[in-house]
C-alpha cells in the first residue's frame, strides 16, 4: 500500500506545476498577443469594416469577394481551473473574457489583412460565428477549444 501522503503529494504537485505553468505561460502569451493585436489594429484601422448588410448607396462598387478570418483557441490550465471555480459560484468568468476577446479581434484582423492584401477598399456585412470544439478525450463532454470565424463581403470601389 502506498503512503497516503505520497499519494496526496503525487496529486498536488502536478496540479501546482500545471497551475504555475498555465499562469506564467498563459499570462506571457496573452500580454504579447494583446500588444500585437493593438499594433495590427492601428495598422488596419483605415479599412472600413462595417456590419451593415448593404453598402451605403453612394458607393460605386466595381468588384466583391468573400473574405474571412479564423482563429481556434484553447485555454490554459490556470484559466480553466478559475472557470471551474466560477462554475460553482456563478458570476463573470473573467478568465474566459480576455481569451475570447483576443480570439474575436484576431479573427477580424486576419479577415481585414486578407482584404487589404487583395486590394479591397472596405468590408461590409461583417459577421462573427463561434463554434465549440468538443473534447474527444472526455467523451465530448469538455471543451477542447473554441473557433471564432469572422467573415464579410469585401468590396472594391471606383475611384
Amino acid at each position: 500500500m502506498e503512503d497516503p501522503l505520497v499519494q496526496i503529494g503525487a496529486q498536488i504537485i502536478p496540479f501546482f506545476l500545471l497551475m504555475l505553468m498555465g499562469f506564467i505561460v498563459g499570462t506571457t502569451i496573452e500580454s504579447n498577443h494583446y500588444r500585437e493585436i493593438r499594433k495590427r489594429e492601428a495598422q488596419t484601422r483605415h479599412l472600413p469594416t462595417i456590419s451593415f448588410r448593404r453598402p451605403p448607396p453612394s458607393w460605386q462598387i466595381t468588384s466583391t469577394a468573400l473574405v474571412h478570418g479564423n482563429t481556434v483557441v484553447s485555454i490554459d490550465y490556470f484559466k480553466r481551473f478559475l472557470a471551474g471555480l466560477r462554475a460553482i459560484t456563478g458570476g463573470r468568468i473573467t478568465s474566459y473574457e480576455s481569451l475570447l476577446d483576443r480570439a474575436r479581434r484576431e479573427a477580424l484582423l486576419r479577415m481585414k489583412a486578407s482584404a487589404i492584401e487583395n486590394g479591397f477598399d472596405a468590408i461590409v456585412n461583417v459577421r462573427l460565428e463561434t463554434a465549440r470544439l468538443a473534447n474527444s478525450s472526455r467523451n465530448g463532454q469538455g471543451t477542447a477549444g473554441v473557433e471564432i470565424f469572422a467573415f464579410g463581403t469585401a468590396v472594391k470601389l471606383a475611384s
Binding site: 497516503p4 499562469f23 481551473f81 478559475l82 471555480l85 475570447l100 476577446d101 463532454q141
Partner: protein, 272 residues
Amino acid sequence: MEWEPSDLPENNVTDVHPLRELGLLLVGIGGATIVLTLVLAFFIDGVVRFLPAEWEARAFSGLWEELDPVSDDRQGASQELLDRLSLHWQENPYQLRLFVIDAPEPNAFALPGGAIGVTRGLLDDVESENELAFVLAHELGHFERRHHLRGLSRSLALGLVFGAATGGSSGTLLTEWVSNVTQLGFAREHELEADRFGLGLVVAEYGHTGGAADFFEKLPETGAGAIHRMAAWLATHPVSPERIAALKRVARQEGWRRHGELTPLYLNAEPR
C-alpha cells in the same frame, strides 16, 4: 458618406487580476464547503447515535462476507477472546463476529453490523493475548461510539456537499484532497476514543494494562521497509508515540495498574 476610422472599444474584459480572482474563489468555496460539511456531519452524528443496533445488524448483515474471509485456525480462539472481552461491555447490542482476512499488513477494522475483521499479518505479529485483546477491544470501542457508522455517514455528508458543489459530475482533485484530509481528522480523534474504551476492557479482563501498547511500540521499530508497510495504518491511526502517551495518561488518570503478567498467546502455539 464620410468614413471616420475609430479604434475598437476595449470594454470586453473585466479588469481584475487573475490571482486575486483565484484567491477570492478558493477562500469562498473552501469556507462554504467546510461549514456545510461540519453542519451536516454534526446532524448526522446526532441521528446516528439513536439508530438501533438491530436495524444496523439487519441492514449490513453479510457485508463482511464481501471482504473474502479466509479460514484460519486462529479464528476460533480469537472469536473466543472477543466474546470474553465483550462480556465486560454490558450494553453490547451486537452479535459479534470475528473473521480473518488474508492480508500481510497488520490491521483490524470494525464493520457495521458487529463484524470485526483482522488480518493474518496482525495475528502473525501479536506476541501476547493481552496485545491481541487490546486490538479487539479497540475495535469494540469503535462499535461503542458508533464510529463505524459515523465514518459511513460522514463520507455520505461529504459526498452530498461535493456532489452539490460540483454539479455531481467532476470528481476534481480538490474535492478528493479535502475529503481525504477531513476524514483523516475524524479518524484520529476516533482512534483515541476507541483506545480509551479498549483499554478499559483490557483492564477489566486482565486487571492491568500490560501488553496493551506493545503493538504500537513495535510499529516504528520494525525498520525502514516495514515503515512503508505501515503507511496505511499510520495514516488513519495517530503516530504511535503520541498514542502510547495518550494510553499512559488514561491509565494514570484511572489509576490502572500498568504492568502485570502477560497471558501467553496460546493460539500462536497451535500448528497452522
